[in-house]
Symmetry: none
Subunit: 408 residues, 2 copies
C-alpha cells in the first residue's frame, strides 16, 4: 500500500451511502471533420444525462498514463481504483476471465491454441489450419478427460473460439510470468516455458509443471490431424489483489452481461448478479438489489462494440438507449452516481485509444459545473479536470461522505 492508500484507509468511515458506477464501455470519442466535428456523445439526444449534468460535475480521465491505450483489463482495474501499471494482469488471466472461468489468487493461466507438428516435433502450422470451434471443443474434452491433475495441481481446460483455448493450473506455490512456448515461426519445435524472473522458485515450479503437462498432453493428441500439438502464451498467475471490501469498505455488486467484465469484477471481489441481459434489466436489477449492496458496477458494452466497428450512428444510438433506460435507475437515485467509460473507442479509429474518457459525477455534494450536457468538450472544462482514472473511486467515496477530515 502506498502512503496515500494508507491515508485513505485511515480516513474511511462507514456510511449507508449507495454508490453507482455506470460504465459505457469505450464511450469517449474524437470530433473529426468526417463526423461534422461532433462525437457520438455530442450528437446523441440524451435528455436524462443533460438533466443530471445540470447538478453534476465533469472531468476527463487518463485511463492508465499519457498516450497508453488500455485493454479491458487495465481499463477496468483503473476504474476500480487499482493502479493499472502496478497491478498487471496477464493475458492468460484476462482470456480465462473472458471465457467465464473463475480464477483464484495464485492460479496460473495461459492462452493456448492448437498447432500442427511434423513427426520430428517441429511446428508446421502455428494455428493448426484454424480448426473449427467444435473441433477445438472435442480436443479440449479429450485433454480434460486425460489430465485432471498433475501431482497436486488441478488442470482446467476451457475451449474458446476457433483453435484457441485456455489452460488453468490451480495449486500452491506457483507464479508467472513465463515465456511463451510459441516459437513464433514454423519449422521450429515448441519452445520451453521459462521463468521471466529466473531467480523465482515459484516460477521454476510453474515451468516444470508446464513441461510435465506437455509430456502428458502431446501423447493424447498424437494421432489427431491437423491439431496434434498446442502452443501457450501469456502464461501468468492471478495476482493477489485486495478486494473492494478490504480497500474501500464497500460491498460491491457487478451488473454486467459479458463474461470478461464479470471476471474483472470478480477479480476485485465484487459479487456477480447474474441474469440481466439488457441495460433496462440491469437497472431494474439494481433496484431489486439496492438494499443488498453499497456499490454497483453497471457495465454497458455496446458503445465500445459500435466504436470498434467504426459505426458512429449505432454508437450514438447505443448512448441514447442507455439514456432512455436511466430513469429506471433514478427511481432509487444513488447517493453518488458516476457515468463514464473505461477508455475511449473512437469511431474513426475502430479500436480502443488513449484519449481521456469523459466522466460525470452526481451527488448531493457535487455542485455543478454549469454544463447543460455530458460531452467530451464539456468535460474538458469541468471542475474535475483531467485526472487518472484510478482516482475516480476516491472522488466517489468523498461524495458519499466516506472520508473523515484529514488532520485538525
Amino acid at each position: 500500500m502506498t502512503k496515500l492508500d494508507t491515508l485513505y484507509d485511515q480516513l474511511t468511515l462507514p456510511t449507508k451511502a449507495k454508490l453507482a458506477l455506470v460504465v459505457m464501455d469505450g464511450v469517449g470519442d474524437i470530433a473529426t471533420r468526417e463526423n461534422g466535428f461532433l462525437t457520438p456523445l455530442e450528437a446523441a439526444k440524451t435528455p436524462i444525462m443533460d438533466e443530471l449534468s445540470r447538478e453534476a460535475i465533469q472531468g476527463r480521465m487518463t485511463p492508465v498514463a499519457p498516450g497508453i491505450t488500455p485493454g479491458s483489463g487495465p481499463g477496468h482495474l483503473g476504474l476500480f481504483g487499482y493502479d493499472p501499471v502496478e497491478t498487471q494482469v496477464g493475458r492468460g488471466v484476462i482470456e480465462a476471465l473472458g471465457l467465464g472461468l473463475e480464477l483464484q489468487a495464485g492460479d496460473v493461466a495461459a492462452r493456448a491454441n492448437f498447432c500442427s507438428l511434423d513427426p520430428d516435433g517441429l511446428v508446421t502450422d502455428r494455428r493448426a489450419g484454424r480448426i473449427e470451434t467444435e473441433e477445438c471443443e472435442r480436443l479440449c474434452a479429450l485433454l480434460s478427460a486425460g489430465i485432471q491433475k498433475i501431482a497436486n495441481v488441478q488442470v482446467i481446460i476451457q475451449p474458446g473460439k476457433g483453435h484457441r483455448f485456455v489452460i488453468i493450473f490451480r495449486g500452491e506455490g506457483m507464479e508467472g510470468p513465463l515465456s511463451d512456448t510459441d516459437p513464433q515461426r514454423e519449422g521450429f519445435p515448441i519452445a520451453e516455458a521459462a521463468p521471466v524472473d529466473v531467480s523465482s522458485k515459484k516460477a521454476q515450479k510453474a515451468a516444470k509443471l508446464i513441461r510435465d503437462f506437455y509430456e502428458k498432453a502431446l501423447p493424447i493428441l498424437k494421432d489427431e490431424r491437423p491439431a496434434n500439438g498446442f502452443l501457450m502464451r501469456g502464461i501468468a498467475h492471478q495476482p493477489m489483489i485486495p478486494t473492494f471490501q478490504e480497500r474501500y469498505k464497500l460491498n460491491a455488486a457487478c451488473l454486467a452481461v459479458y463474461p470478461m467484465y464479470k471476471g474483472l469484477a470478480q477479480l476485485v471481489g465484487m459479487q456477480k448478479v447474474e441474469g440481466p441481459q439488457s441495460i433496462s434489466e440491469q437497472f431494474n436489477r439494481y433496484l431489486e438489489e439496492y438494499d443488498h449492496f453499497d456499490f454497483f458496477f453497471i457495465h454497458y458494452k455496446y458503445t465500445d462494440m459500435y466504436g470498434e466497428d467504426g459505426n458512429f450512428e449505432a454508437k450514438k444510438q447505443a448512448i441514447e438507449a442507455l439514456d432512455e433506460a436511466l430513469p429506471i435507475l433514478l427511481q432509487k437515485r444513488p447517493d453518488v452516481l458516476a457515468i463514464t467509460g473505461d477508455h475511449s473507442t473512437p469511431c474513426p479509429m475502430k479500436g480502443h485509444s488513449w484519449h481521456p474518457q469523459p466522466v460525470l459525477l452526481h451527488s448531493a455534494f457535487s455542485g455543478c459545473d454549469k454544463l447543460d450536457r455530458f460531452t467530451e468538450t464539456g468535460a474538458n472544462i469541468g471542475s474535475m479536470g483531467v485526472f487518472e482514472a484510478k482516482y475516480l473511486i476516491r472522488h466517489m467515496q468523498a461524495h458519499a461522505r466516506m472520508f473523515d477530515k484529514y488532520g485538525a
Copy 2:
C-alpha cells in the same frame, strides 16, 4: 527506468510516422491590464495556427513542477521527455553546450570566470574588472597552449562573453558535482573544489584534478593584470542519458540556430542539421530532410528573446513571423505536429517563468477541442488538460500509433 518507462518501452512499435516538435522558446505569457488583458499569442494574427487548431487538441504543460521556473536545460529536457528533476544537468555542462562544445558522457565541465588576486592569493575582484571578450579569448588561448593534458585527462578551454569561459576535463572515472571555487566574497582565497558526495571516489579524483589544474594554470596567469586568477562554478559531469533512439525508437534531427539548443539536442542523441539561420530556412530544411529522420525538433528563439526584453510588440511579431512560415513545413505535413514552448517568458516579467506553456497537438487522431485559435486561454479548456511537459513526447508517440494496446 521507472515501471512506467518500462511499460512504454514494451509497448513501443516501429512506425513510419513523422513527428515534428516546433518549440517557440518562452512563448507562454500572461494577460495583464497593461497589455489589454491579452497575451502576445492572443494579440498576434496567426491564420495558419488558427486553421490547425480547428483540427487539433490543446493543453498546458507544467515545465518541471508547480512553481518551478526552468532554464533552457531543464525546459528542453522536459520537452524531450526526460524527467527534469531526476535528470539534472549541471550549469557547467549547459554553459559548455551553449558555447557550442560537444560533450561526451563522463566529461566534467565547469563555468569559469577570470578574477583578480592580490600577492597573497586573496580575491580582490571576483570578475577581474569585467574584462573584454577579446582579452578573455587571449587568456584562454594562453591557458590552452600551456595545458593540454593533466595526466591522462584532456583539458578543453573555451572562451565565452566578457570575463567568462568554460573548462572541460575529458577522461575516465570522474564525476561531479563539486563545490564552487568561488569564495563568493572578496578578501578570501580561491576555495577548494570539494566533492558534494564526500564518499565518491570519482568526485575525489575530479577534485584532485582541479587542484592540479590550478597549480599549472595560476603560474601561467601570474603576470597578467587584472586577470591573474579564475574561479570555477557549477562543476558537474555530463550524465549518461539514454538517447532519443534508445528511449523512443525515433531517429531525431535538431533544426536549431543557437548553440545551446543544438547542445541540448545533442545531449539526447539528436543529430544536428547545420546551416539554417531563419525559421523559413529551418522549415525548408525540414522538407529536405523529411525522409531521413522520424522526429524533428525545430527551435525558434525570438519569442523568448523578446519576452526577456519585455517587448510585447516584438514577441507578437515573432509569433506572426513563425505562423507565416508554417506553410513551408505543412508542404509535407508531419503525421504528428506539436507546437509549444519550453517554458513561458512573460513580457511583464522580462524573464523565464513557471507559468504552464500552451501546447497544440495535431494529428489524424487528435480530434479537436472546438477551439478556433491557439492561445493560453484556449489551451486552458483543451482536452489535454494541464500536464507535465515530460509527457508530451508520449502523447506524440501515441498519436503516431507507436504504442501497442496495453493488456487484453
